[in-house]
């Protein structure tokens, strides 16, 4: 029994070694980002492959913060937060309907939603451009919010549907017998249990919108409305790339993502529904 209960120490060590190797592999690009960001310009090429530069500096950060980058950054925050919020609301409503109701055309709508996920974005860039132009939204942040929301809804909706599917129907029925209207049951019983799902959806959509560049590049030409992935390209000039500042901007761009996930991570914790139904 002891052998069953406690695995061999070598196995445990091997497991952690494999995990450590994976984490190192996954985090290495981040480490490199930070490393280049603190490397003075004059050392970027001469000490290119060293694991840490012989001298470190905050100059790159200072320059980035003094540039237009903060505006790009602000634009990205507006676009990503709005997209995440709008998408989550629509996906939650749609996901609930898909999970709980049988309605005419349910399968068709579901198939159409799936279909939208099958085309490479490049194919539809031109039509999207025409539509946005016709709506008079070119060079505005709402153009990005609308487009991102439209493209994220199908996946987010299926994600939310799977979370609603995981909540037993009995709970809602019990609430309705206990005196709730359907909306009350949704608000008092189902919604609190869906927070992990909402967190995951918000996180997913936020990250997708935060790092999107294709539409941002096509639909926004004016500098004051650019988002930061497009803004990053400003560090590339005709004859050189300002690696240090670009990486510093990249490091700064990670901050909101990290903050956002830190904020929603407690809702991401699973197992909230355990104990609802049988043992």
């Amino acid at each position: 029994m002891a052998a069953l209960g406690r695995p061999h120490p070598a196995l445990v060590a091997g497991k952690y070694l494999a995990l450590a190797a994976y984490v190192a592999f996954a985090l290495f690009p981040l480490y490199w980002l930070v490393k280049i960001a603190v490397t003075p310009d004059r050392l970027v090429y001469s000490e290119g492959t060293r694991y840490w530069p012989s001298a470190a500096t905050w100059d790159n950060f200072r320059e980035v913060l003094g540039s237009d980058f903060l505006r790009f950054f602000g634009n990205s925050v507006i676009v990503s937060l709005s997209t995440a919020a709008i998408t989550a609301v629509i996906a939650a409503g749609g996901g609930y309907a898909f999970s709980r109701f049988d309605f005419r055309g349910k399968r068709l709508v579901s198939a159409l939603l799936l279909l939208t996920q099958m085309f490479p974005l490049l194919i539809i860039i031109a039509p999207i451009y025409r539509i946005v132009a016709a709506l008079g939204l070119l060079n505005t942040l709402p153009s990005l919010i609308v487009t991102y929301t439209a493209f994220n809804i199908p996946f987010a909706l299926f994600l939310m549907q799977s979370f609603f599917d995981g909540i037993p129907k009995d709970l809602e029925e019990a609430a309705m017998i206990d005196g709730c209207r359907r909306m009350q049951a949704l608000r008092k019983v189902i919604l609190p249990l869906t927070l992990p799902g909402l967190g995951a959806t918000l996180g997913f959509v936020f990250t997708a919108a935060w790092s999107e560049i294709l539409f941002a590049l096509m639909l926004i030409r004016k500098e004051e409305h650019m988002t930061f992935p497009v803004g990053l390209l400003n560090f590339v000039s005709k004859f050189s790339v300002d690696w240090g500042q670009m990486m510093a901007a990249g490091v700064l761009a990670l901050v909101p993502s990290c903050l956002f996930f830190a904020f929603i991570q407690r809702y991401l914790v699973q197992g909230l529904t355990s104990g609802a139904v049988k043992g």
């Binding site: 037993p168 009995d170 709970l171 029925e173 019990a174 609430a175 309705m176 017998i177 206990d178 005196g179 709730c180 209207r181 009350q184 008092k188 019983v189 609190p192 249990l193 197992g271 909230l272 529904t273 355990s274 104990g275 609802a276 139904v277 049988k278 043992g279």
Partner: protein, 349 residues
């Protein structure tokens, strides 16, 4: 408390009819058990009473009021689900007080009924816990507590003990019986377990294939099953059934033995406890194929050539060897005659 009346209730999904011609009156304070095999429509019927399934045809009245179009929250009923359906993000106390919370009763007013229900069910020490920290039996108690706190017109139970292990099931069964005696609430209880039905019910409703087969007290159903389905479903072990050819004084079985039966009978049922091993050697000869010694009783699984398998339940232990031949005689007063369609033939004496 209020009675529940069902008249001509039917349910169909699309073109498929799952319930038909259900007429039933549950009296005030009566404990009625709906029992039947999986898919017989008993849970659907309960959900229709609760308002969770629309009624396709017929009328439902609770406390004399027509309820067909009334949503669940307006029916003043409480339901205990098979899955317990406790709200996982609420403590035991809040779970139990939830119906009152929804009815906007102030917190101070809710505390009393919750505390009283907790005391009845022995949950006082668990009020601050969350459902995930409770055992199966405790969760079941909380679910019952939530039902009691409301003081509804009627209680509905949907296979409440199915998820519990055998020992706990017996304990909770007693608890439900005690609770019913104490509160005396009108109750409709669904189960597929005939022991639960027999022990809890004032009256049992046996259902099969969407129709009521028989309604009666547990002993009615045991002593006078209306058809072969009820005969086979009620009683454990299952009733023996032998077919025969009608002769003037009864039914002649395949081996030539004649058992008394009224005219029109094509089959005779006999419960295992009413089939005896005859010491004098006249009766149905059968080979003993399996012996189950239960201590208080012994089950003899026999095979009578041409007649089929027969089970005799003998009180105490019996000195019979496996493979030996025994002679079986029925308690003649306890034979259940059925006609070719499986209906009970009324005996005229």
């Amino acid at each position: 408390m209020a009675g529940i009346e069902l008249s001509g209730i039917a349910k169909s999904y699309g073109g498929t009819e799952v319930l038909r011609d259900v007429d039933l009156a549950v009296g005030e304070g009566e404990f009625v058990v709906l029992v039947g095999p999986s898919g017989c429509g008993k849970s659907t019927l309960l959900r229709m009473i609760a308002g969770l399934e629309p009624i396709s045809a017929g009328e439902l009245r609770i406390g004399g009021r027509r309820m067909n179009e009334v949503p669940p929250r307006g029916r003043d009923i409480a339901m205990v689900f098979q899955s317990y359906a406790l709200y996982p993000h609420m403590t035991v106390a809040r779970n139990m007080g939830f119906p009152m919370e929804i009815a906007h009763r102030p917190k101070a007013e809710r505390a009393g009924p919750v505390a009283r229900a907790a005391e009845v069910l022995g949950l006082q020490k668990l009020l601050d816990r969350y459902p995930r920290a409770l055992s199966g039996g405790q969760r079941q108690r909380v679910a019952m507590g939530r039902a009691i706190v409301r003081q509804p017109q009627a209680f509905l139970f949907d296979e409440p003990l199915s998820n519990l292990d055998a020992a706990l099931r017996v304990e909770m069964r007693l608890e439900i019986a005690r609770l019913h005696h104490r509160i005396g609430a009108t109750t409709v209880y669904v189960t597929h377990d005939q022991v639960e039905a027999m022990t809890l019910a004032d009256r049992i409703v046996v259902m099969n294939a969407g129709r009521i087969q028989q309604v009666g007290t547990p002993m009615d159903l045991y002593d006078r099953p209306a058809n072969r389905f009820v005969a086979g479903f009620i009683g454990s072990p299952t009733m023996n059934m032998v077919e025969g050819t009608p002769v003037p004084d009864g039914l002649r079985l395949a081996d030539g033995t004649v058992w008394p039966a009224p005219p029109g009978a094509r089959a005779l049922g006999i419960r295992p406890e009413h089939l005896h091993v005859s010491p004098d050697g006249t009766g149905l000869r059968a080979e003993v194929q399996l012996i189950e010694r239960l201590g208080s009783d012994t089950n003899l699984f026999c095979e009578a050539p041409g007649v089929g398998p027969l089970l005799a339940r003998v009180h105490g232990d019996v000195n019979v060897a496996l493979g030996s031949t025994v002679v079986l005689t029925p308690d003649l007063a306890r034979l259940h005659p059925f006609d070719a369609e499986g209906r009970r033939v009324v005996q005229i004496r």
